[in-house]
Subunit: 150 residues, 2 copies
Amino acid sequence: MNVRLSELIEAYIKELMEESDDFVEFGRNELAEHFHCVPSQINYVISTRFSPERGYYVESRRGGGGNIRIKRIELSQNDYIMHILHSIESNLSQNEVGIMIQNMVEYDIVSEEVARLMSVATNDKVLNLPNDLKDSVRTRIFKNLLINLI
Amino acid sequence: MNVRLSELIEAYIKELMEESDDFVEFGRNELAEHFHCVPSQINYVISTRFSPERGYYVESRRGGGGNIRIKRIELSQNDYIMHILHSIESNLSQNEVGIMIQNMVEYDIVSEEVARLMSVATNDKVLNLPNDLKDSVRTRIFKNLLINLI
DNA sequence: TACTTATAAAAGTCAAAGAAAGTCAAAGTA
DNA sequence: TACTTTGACTTTCTTTGACTTTTATAAGTA
């Protein structure tokens, strides 16, 4: 596959959210239908892209008329950074850090330049460490960079 | 073999880069397919020809839709940075990196903010690595940050 | 009517399969 | 000897689907 479906779905949800005051509500099945994918794909996107540590609040209801609601938590720049810092409980992959940095750019927490430097300093190829060290070193660097931003 | 395949691949990537503003993005498998070689040949070319010393920054993603991205900085237009890059012949201590960063601030190559970020990302305490790894990781991070300053 | 039960319509979970790129060392070549 | 090519094996991220849980509503019963 050429383009990642997950990213299309992520972008779509963010677009909807922009249009309606940082809040979006949808049926999981409808959205899956719209993208011609299985419903659990939506869960994957939510858990990798719209988790609390990324600054979102998610709730849902099952059963007839059930749906999923995502609300972006509105925080000042410093609070946003503090929120991320507090919510990091385990080590992060390059991808996870990348998604967080991308969000920070989108929400004007950091400049493009700072974002670029942060992703360089947390990049797998750059670190080039054995697997048992990679994620922990990356996470330490990332956290310290965040602290530095406050 | 008469002509080294590695050189053909190198030339091809550079050609693509010329055409598109010093940036290329491709699938490793596609490129390998194009040259009828094994995918790991691409890694060999990248690691031997597209290093920071030569002015390149490389990043990649695995998994579905994964790819490799290479960007280049114009050597001649960034004299000072290339000068620093070339002057690094062995691994650097925190102190040595610190001095270089300070010089860059004095010469107005980087802002205070960026300088601070660079020091955090190359700091001993932050990296918290065994001695045999510390300096090499620091140096890789520093070099790659340099490439990305522009 | 009030309460219980069945049915169907959601969303959630989790692990397997798939799709990429990375690593490393052996073999080949100049 | 130094550089290049190859390929088996690993790691990372995404997609899929079978199975589970929850909830609203309709149907049945006292």
